[in-house]
Every structure is written in structure tokens, then in C-alpha cells.
């Protein structure tokens, strides 16, 4: 008879790298891609189901599994190149630790992912969860230059690279960004950085949702470029009204001009958030939904925001809601039943709006799926890609379309 999972893993990775999680499951914390690969290979051969865990705040901790593979042992910032504005980080590095290291050299990663600041880089990339800065700096995929990933059967694949422009080979990195771990476990990520801007100003305006959405439309029409223009529900903003938060980055003169344009185009009463409080303000916005049971995002364009917000508030609630007032996109966090998510997804689909379940307890995730039903032909492609990277379906993810 084979020894239990725990002993087999300890023999493979060493006794210190294998513990038990709070539920009693063996938890392997390898400190290298090779260690992750060995674990996956063994799990593949033995038929063990693997749940991947970063900091434990995003991927559900209750997915049915025989072992937990924790990426927190992959905690090195392997290289930082200020001259090239590129860094290589292991997947288990917390976002806040990376930010501190980059700040030492006057750089930053322009990603303000929702959730706790200690969320791992791997979690942000695997779930493609971008925050308000997506308006100015694009979605998560635009920041990732390459990666290393361990497949469900223990192979190490390294697509992309460390340069900012690269079309060598197929772009397998894109599959990993927002792949929810269905195509392997991220172990290392090459990211594009930016120099810290000279000026960083945050403004807020309060008002009705309709008035603020309209202001976003007006600002879009002016062509003003903002780092962020986020519409926040009263619960997110901890205010009695909806709040529109704008962030302008750049040179002193450029930011001043942007602020003038914002005021002129909207006619709203804007208040400046003092510089010493502005980072804390955005951090609070990011972590406002960290304690919620579930998080969904909707890919809606700006001109459909009003209607989509109506849908969200009607089918779910008006609690924790963030919306991109310039380029669209909605995130909601809270608690709701499977039937509510399904209803919302159905209604969104009729409006050509994709809905992604970013975070949820396993039962909900399994019932609804990250993405729900795929378009015709897409589900077959996704299924085959999944089999390519995890032939025995050892990685426990709700990737297959359901409903």
C-alpha cells in the first residue's frame, strides 16, 4: 500500500515544505518551479486533485482536492531592471512587497488589483483582475511580457520573454493571464514597469449615479487621458452618494491641464484628495470587497454602463460596485445565489456583455463556472486547451462552461 499523500510529498520536497492546511489537507509549498513541477508530476501520476493557493484570499479554499499547492514559497523578486523598466518576479510575491521594492528605484507596476494588498502577483495574473488603473494602463495582459508555468502533468513551459516587444512563437502567455490556473500554475512572471510619475493627483465628485455616468461620457468625448476614472457605489466609497474618482498622472503642467479639462467638461463639484491620503484612498477602494463572498466582472462598454448597472443592481444588489466610467467594465462584490448569477449572466449575454465570476466559494463557482457557457465552438477549443495543459484534469478549476 502506498504511503499517504503527505509522506510522499515530504519525501519529494523535504519535510519543511509540506504541512497541513487548516482543513487538514496536505499543503505543499515548493520554493522553485522544479519543486512545483515535481509535485504536479506526482499528482498527475497518482491521480491526486490539486488546489492552487496563493495568499488564500482569492482562489476558494474549499475546492475539493487531495492536496494544496501553495505558491508562497515562490517569493523571490528575481530581477529588477530600472533601465529597461522590466522585472521578473516569482508568482508567490505579494503585490505590496513588489510595490515597495520597485519604489526603491522610482518605478511601479501600474496595476491596482482589487483585494488585499498582500495578494500574490500570480493570483492577480491568473485571474486577470485589474483595478481602476486599467483605464489608463490597460488590462492585466498589457503588463505581462512572459511567464513560466507548470502544467498539470509537471512540464515547465516558458513563453514570452523579458523584452517589451516580442512576437517570437505563439503568445501562450495570453492564455495564462486570466486562465484561472486551468492551463497550469504560474511560477514566474515578467512584468512591464513604469517610472513613477512626477505628479499624481486624485479628485472626487459626489452625486447621483446617472449624473456621474454622464460625466464619464462627457469626459470620454473630450479625449482627456486619465489614469483612472472610476465610478464607486456608496458602499465602496463609504459615502452617502455615488462617487466618481479621477486620477491624473504625468508632468505638472500636463496634470494641471487635465484637471482643468475635467472641471470644464463635467460641471461637477470636484474635491482634491490630499496627496498624503490619495494612495490610502485607492487602497481602500481596492480592498473594499476583500471580505465579500463573491466577485464578478462584466465586460461592458461605456455607453452600456447605465443599463448594465441597472441589471447588476436589480439582479444582485447595489452594495459593492465599481465601474470604469471612461472605458467601461463593472465589478460587483457581495453575496448572492446561483440563480441570481445565472439570471444576470443570461441577461448580460443578450446584450453582448461577458460576465466572469472572479471569486466565489467552490460550490458557487462549480455551479456557475468562471465564464459560464461559452459561445458556439469556443467551449470545444477551451476544453482541448485544458486537456493540452492538464491532460488528467488534476488542477481543480471551474473552467469548463456550465449552465
Amino acid at each position: 500500500m502506498q504511503p499517504p499523500v503527505l509522506e510522499r510529498l515530504r519525501a519529494l520536497l523535504g519535510p519543511d515544505a509540506v504541512t497541513r492546511d487548516p482543513a487538514g489537507l496536505p499543503r505543499a509549498t515548493p520554493d522553485s518551479a522544479e519543486g512545483v513541477a515535481l509535485t504536479c508530476r506526482l499528482a498527475h501520476d497518482e491521480g491526486w486533485r490539486v488546489r492552487v493557493e496563493g495568499h488564500g484570499s482569492w482562489v476558494p479554499g474549499d475546492a475539493p482536492a487531495d492536496l494544496v499547492l501553495c505558491t508562497r514559497g515562490l517569493d523571490r523578486i528575481s530581477s529588477v531592471s530600472p533601465a529597461d523598466l522590466v522585472a521578473t518576479v516569482e508568482a508567490g510575491v505579494p503585490m505590496d512587497a513588489l510595490a515597495r521594492r520597485l519604489a526603491e528605484d522610482g518605478m511601479w507596476l501600474a496595476l491596482d488589483a482589487p483585494g488585499r494588498p498582500e495578494r500574490t502577483v500570480g493570483s492577480v495574473v491568473a485571474t486577470a483582475t485589474a483595478g481602476p488603473l486599467r483605464a489608463g494602463f490597460g488590462p492585466v495582459r498589457d503588463h505581462v511580457l512572459g511567464c513560466a508555468v507548470v502544467t498539470g502533468d509537471g512540464r515547465i513551459v516558458k513563453p514570452g520573454g523579458r523584452v517589451v516587444k516580442n512576437v517570437a512563437g505563439y503568445d501562450l502567455t495570453k492564455l495564462q493571464v486570466g486562465g484561472f490556473g486551468g492551463f497550469g500554475i504560474l511560477t514566474e512572471i515578467h512584468v512591464r514597469l513604469r517610472a513613477v510619475p512626477r505628479r499624481d493627483v486624485t479628485l472626487v465628485a459626489r452625486g447621483s449615479r446617472d449624473a456621474l455616468t454622464l460625466a464619464g461620457r462627457d469626459l470620454l468625448a473630450t479625449g482627456v487621458t486619465l489614469a483612472a476614472l472610476e465610478l464607486l457605489s456608496p458602499t465602496v466609497a463609504a459615502e452617502p452618494d455615488w462617487v466618481l474618482a479621477a486620477r491624473a498622472l504625468g508632468t505638472e503642467a500636463g496634470v494641471h491641464a487635465d484637471l482643468d479639462r475635467i472641471a470644464a467638461a463635467t460641471g461637477l463639484g470636484w474635491a482634491t484628495v490630499p496627496l498624503e491620503r490619495s494612495h490610502a484612498f485607492w487602497d481602500l477602494i481596492a480592498r473594499a470587497g476583500a471580505g465579500a463572498t463573491a466577485t464578478v466582472r462584466l465586460g461592458v462598454l461605456q455607453d452600456g454602463l447605465d443599463e448594465a448597472l441597472d441589471l447588476v443592481t436589480h439582479e444582485l444588489d447595489e452594495g459593492l460596485v465599481w465601474a470604469g466610467a471612461l472605458h467601461g467594465g463593472i465589478r460587483w462584490a457581495g453575496s448572492a445565489e446561483v440563480s441570481q448569477f445565472r439570471a444576470l449572466r443570461r441577461l448580460a449575454a443578450t446584450r453582448e456583455i461577458p460576465l466572469t465570476l472572479e471569486r466565489a466559494p467552490w460550490a458557487l463557482r462549480q455551479a456557475v463556472g468562471h465564464f459560464g457557457a461559452y459561445r458556439e465552438g469556443v467551449g470545444q477549443l477551451v476544453g482541448k486547451l485544458r486537456e493540452t495543459f492538464d491532460p488528467a484534469h488534476r488542477l481543480v478549476v471551474a473552467l469548463e462552461g456550465v449552465e
Binding site: 516587444k165 508632468t251 482541448k384
Partner: protein, 470 residues
């Protein structure tokens, strides 16, 4: 058999849109890569998306490989078709289906020429940002296949950053729709996976792209430097200062002299070791402030003379030399191998020295014109393809240039693609496992490997992965 096939295809597209005789196929035996050529079995030129789908289905049933081709401006031999393959030419699918200014989106067929889309968007104050040097000829379908770049990709990103949704015909004739008008995926990011797959995952029939506002203010600076090294250091200095210009393009002395001796003369200083074009755009206030900073940084890094173009005519003149540099190099020799590789910006001076040494080693004239802000090199080797010995030296120099770029952590291609040209370097860039993964992913879209066969992945260098379930 070819005649039977030609007749069958003619029933779909009409007789005049099938080319089967060798003399008719000469046009299609090469793209923009002068070192490779081959004639397809035949060429078919469908006139609608429905006809493309029918052609692809027919070829699937007959088990015949095919290669999709746009304008044939590609520089990696990506659109070359061997004698067993049918070339599907997409230039007749040239309809701009929609320009939606309020949503900042456009929907186009694959044969739409890049610059035509920007022209169509201009009345609304918008443009399509990726601007390859061949933008007046290259098609958006080709741009999607190659993930094309261009000078202004420094600030605005390459093709993949601007594609929201695709309708694709898979190699077996099935239609799938990837992405969404917003850009958020219905599932994993298959748009991101498809863009840059070099025609090996299928053919994009309908492309939804982002349009960006035309910046209200633009300034273009031309700075002359004593050496490429000093100019490269200025590039790093500007980026490190937190400024992301719309474009930062460099030309070395050899390139500048070729341009200035041609009809594209732009008034570049021919005595400079290198010239740098820096374009800054945005609000008038931001541009004014950034131009001041950029000028100061250029001077600090040794720029001898700086010119600032303000009016559209002045800017167009400065850009003319850059955009037409490849054509101007025709003065040096009958053929030009336009190479493409990327290095970390900090390695630009070292690698450019190495490229110069490689040119000397093989007795070749190498001119450099490139996207300096991205570290995206274009060492251009002038040669005459009729001279076999010279051609062998060009191949050897290319190999050494690729090795030099990889040695500093670079890539073998930044925007031209692997195609046929870079196939041999792929095992130097990726390990066998990663190449195996790429091949396995290709088989998901194309189990029979009939779409653009023989490109991108050197099959012998791949570790074997299981085939995905059929």
C-alpha cells in the same frame, strides 16, 4: 489534380479569381522577405467571408494545406506557400464594416489596408494606433496574424493591444467568435492567443479594433548625436525620467546617408553618428512640458543639434525619411534583408556595436533604423541575391545577429514574426518543452497542421506532447 481543384474552387469564387498557371503565380511566390521564395500550388482570391469559409471547408475535406495572405508585405516569409499548398489571398475582403465613434470601435474585413482605417476614423477625431512602416499597403488581417507593431507602438501598444473581437474560420471550416466588443473575453483570452499566431490557427474574417483619439497636440524632435551609443543612452534617459513619447526612432549614419541621397531626403544631418526622432503627443500643456524635458535630456546626453517640428508639414517631412528609409536603402544594393530583433533597452549600445562588428566580419553593409524606445532593432543588410556567396554571408550574419540579441536576454523578432525566416532560431529562443507546448496548442486549432504549414515551430526541436482529444 490541381486543375480539378482549380475548377472546384472556381465554382466558389469564379474562374477569374483562381490562379493556377505558373506565370500567374509569380506574383505570389514571395512576400517582403527577399531571401525566400516558393510557388503555391494555386492561388484563390475569394470575394466574401462566405466564399473564404467555403474554400477552407473544401480544402479541409480534401486534406489540402493552405496559406492565408494579405498584401504580401510581411518580412519573415510568413505568407509563402509551398507547392502543395493553396494560397488564399484576402485582399478582396476590403470592407470597413463599421466605424463606431461613440464606442471607439471599428469592424473590418481582413483585407482592409491599415492606413485606410485610420483615414476612415479621422473625421471622427480618431485613429487606429498600430502603424507599421508598410501601413499604406499592409492589411489588418496580416497585422493580426503577425501582431504587427510600428513606430507609435512605444506609447500605444502593438496590434494585440487593439483587437477586441475576432470572427475566425478554423482550418476545418468552423466559425468561432472570440473576445467581445468591450475586449473582455467570453472565457480565456483566445483573442490574445490568436493574434500573432501567423495564420496557423485559422483566418480572421472580421476584426473589431479599438480606435484611439487623435492627440490634440503633437511635436516631433530630431536630435543629432555623435554616435549610436550616445543616442541609445538618451533613449534610456528619457524613459527613466517617466516620459513615454509616442515614438522614439533611431537611424544610424549609413541609413541617414541613404535617405538623404534619395528622393525621400528629409534634411537629416549626414555628419551625425545617429539621429533620433522623438515624438511627443497629448494635451498642448503636457506636450509643451514634455518637449522641454525631452530637449533637456537630449542635450544632457550629447545631442549636438535639435530641431522641433510643429506644423503637420514639418512633421511629415521629418517622418518621411524614417518611414521611407527601407526604400531609400535600395540605393545601396538591389536587395535588402530587413532584420528584426529586440533587446533590453539598456543593451542597445552593446548590441549595436556587435551588429557593426558582425557587418565588418562578413564584409556587409548593415544600416540600422529602428524603434529605439522598445529596443526593437532593424539591422538592414544590403545585398544582391544573385550572388550566392554573398547570400551565404547574409545568412551567417543574420544568425550571428540573432545570437547577439538572445545573449543579452532579447528576442528573435519584435514585430515581423518568425515565418520561414526565423524558424531555425526558435530552438535558441525556447526550450524543447515550450516549443512542444506551442505545437500542441496549434493542434488544438488545427489538428492536421494544414494552416500555414512549416512556419514558426521547427517540429524536430519540439518535445512531443500528446495530441488534444479530437
Amino acid at each position: 489534380m490541381s486543375m480539378d481543384l482549380a475548377a472546384a474552387l472556381a465554382r466558389v469564387v469564379g474562374t477569374r479569381w483562381v490562379r493556377a498557371r505558373p506565370v500567374e503565380l509569380v506574383t505570389f511566390e514571395a512576400d517582403g522577405l527577399p531571401t525566400h521564395s516558393s510557388q503555391p500550388r494555386l492561388a484563390v482570391i475569394p470575394g466574401s467571408r462566405r466564399e473564404v469559409v467555403e474554400v477552407v471547408r473544401m480544402l479541409h475535406l480534401a486534406g489540402i494545406p493552405f496559406v492565408a495572405r494579405g498584401a504580401g508585405t510581411g518580412l519573415s516569409g510568413g505568407a509563402l506557400a509551398g507547392g502543395d499548398s493553396v494560397l488564399i489571398v484576402l485582399t478582396r475582403l476590403d470592407r470597413i464594416l463599421k466605424v463606431d465613434p461613440s464606442r471607439r470601435r471599428a469592424v473590418v474585413e481582413p483585407g482592409v489596408v491599415n492606413a485606410r482605417l485610420t483615414d476612415a476614423a479621422a473625421p471622427f477625431g480618431l485613429h487606429y494606433a498600430p502603424d507599421p512602416s508598410s501601413q499604406t499597403a499592409c492589411t489588418l488581417g496580416g497585422n493580426v496574424a503577425e501582431n504587427a507593431g510600428g513606430p507609435h507602438c512605444l506609447k500605444y501598444g502593438v496590434t494585440t493591444n487593439h483587437v477586441a473581437e475576432l470572427e475566425v474560420v478554423l482550418p476545418d471550416g468552423r466559425l468561432v467568435r472570440l473576445g467581445s466588443p468591450h475586449g473582455e473575453s467570453w472565457g480565456p483570452d483566445l483573442v490574445g492567443l490568436f493574434v500573432g499566431s501567423e495564420g496557423m490557427f485559422g483566418i480572421a474574417l472580421e476584426i473589431t479594433v479599438h480606435l484611439a483619439p487623435i492627440a490634440p497636440a503633437v511635436r516631433t524632435l530630431l536630435a543629432a548625436f555623435p554616435s549610436v551609443r550616445r543616442a541609445s543612452e538618451a533613449v534610456s534617459g528619457i524613459i527613466a525620467a517617466g516620459i513615454v513619447p509616442a515614438a522614439m526612432e533611431m537611424m544610424d549614419q549609413s541609413c541617414v546617408r541613404a535617405v538623404e541621397a534619395s528622393i525621400y531626403a528629409a534634411g537629416y544631418p549626414t555628419d551625425a553618428g545617429a539621429v533620433l526622432l522623438v515624438e511627443v503627443d497629448g494635451s498642448p500643456e503636457a506636450v509643451g512640458a514634455e518637449v522641454e524635458l525631452v530637449e533637456e535630456l537630449l542635450r544632457r546626453h550629447g545631442a549636438a543639434g535639435i530641431r522641433c517640428a510643429v506644423t503637420p508639414a514639418e512633421r511629415a517631412r521629418l517622418w518621411q525619411g524614417r518611414k521611407k528609409a527601407f526604400g531609400a536603402m535600395g540605393r545601396i544594393a538591389p536587395d535588402l534583408a530587413v532584420q528584426d530583433a529586440v533587446v533590453p533597452r539598456s543593451a542597445l549600445p552593446t548590441v549595436l556595436d556587435e551588429v557593426s562588428a558582425i557587418g565588418q566580419r562578413y564584409g556587409l553593409t548593415i544600416s540600422n533604423v529602428f524603434h529605439a524606445g522598445d529596443g526593437n532593432l532593424h539591422p538592414n543588410i544590403s545585398f544582391d541575391r544573385r550572388d550566392a556567396a554573398l547570400l551565404a554571408r547574409v545568412h551567417a550574419a543574420n544568425r550571428d545577429i540573432m545570437a547577439a540579441c538572445l545573449a543579452v536576454g532579447g528576442s528573435i523578432t519584435g514585430e515581423h514574426g518568425v515565418g520561414s525566416d526565423k524558424l531555425e532560431y526558435m530552438p535558441d529562443a525556447f526550450d524543447a518543452e515550450t516549443l512542444g507546448a506551442m505545437r500542441a496548442v496549434r493542434r488544438v486549432f488545427d489538428p492536421d497542421e494544414r494552416a500555414n504549414p512549416g512556419k514558426v515551430i521547427p517540429l524536430r526541436a519540439c518535445r512531443e506532447w500528446r495530441r488534444g482529444a479530437a
